[in-house]
Amino acid sequence: MREPTWRQEGEDPDYRFTLANERTFLAWIRTALALLAGGVLLHQLAPTLGPRVAVVILSVALGVAAAALSVLSYTRWRRNEIAIRTGRPLPFSRLLVVLAIVCAVTAGVLTVFLIVSDAVA
């Protein structure tokens, strides 16, 4: 793989900034992997929870969200790296809001399922 052109742009920044950016990328990747594991575990280990169709939809949605998030982690890392190298402000991102909404919806749906399945049992 050849050296990307943006690595020659600007100047080498303080290594602490690039290391922090690298860790941020890895933290987002772990978040994606956690969402994915949550979806798969939900589907495999909770067969009596809620309507099966809804559980399948939720699991698939978490898997798709994980795939999208992992790609976004990389593009975000790259944009941040370029911004740091050229001394521009870090780009604004709506990723945090979207992730919060995904987590809130998942938690809400699962809570309803837990209450309903408990009432039935």
Binding site: M1, E3, R7, D12, Y15, R16, T18, L19, A20, E22, R23, F25, L26, A27, I29, R30, A32, L33, A34, L36, A37, G39, V40, L41, H43, Q44, P47, P51, R52, V53, V56, S59, V60, G63, V64, A66, A67, S70, V71, S73, Y74, W77
Partner: protein, 125 residues
Amino acid sequence: MSAAAAAGGQPKDAGLQPERTVLSWTRTAFAVAVNALLSLRAGFVAGEPALVAVGALLLAAAAAVVALAAVRRAQLSDVSPSAPPPRGALLSVTAATVVAAIAGVWSVLAVQGAAGAGGVPGAAS
């Protein structure tokens, strides 16, 4: 931090930056390994050899991330480290995560198909 340290010397936690970065790689390897095991389990439960194969592949990917952590540890062990991550390393981790996500969605749909065909009593939708 004292004013002198802030003005001239190395910041107090300069030496810990590489350590935190290496630990971050290690944690990521664990997260990949967990998903690899889930894919293996789903493959055995659903009787899908392809899912088992992807699980084994992801396990190898987790080992590769451990190796990357070791590479980063070596690169960043200088007094003043400035090495960027190995070329393509971050892109490979991204690709492994996408593969894991595809396997996860696939495992959900595969087990669902088996349940629909009467594989798991009472679980059919």
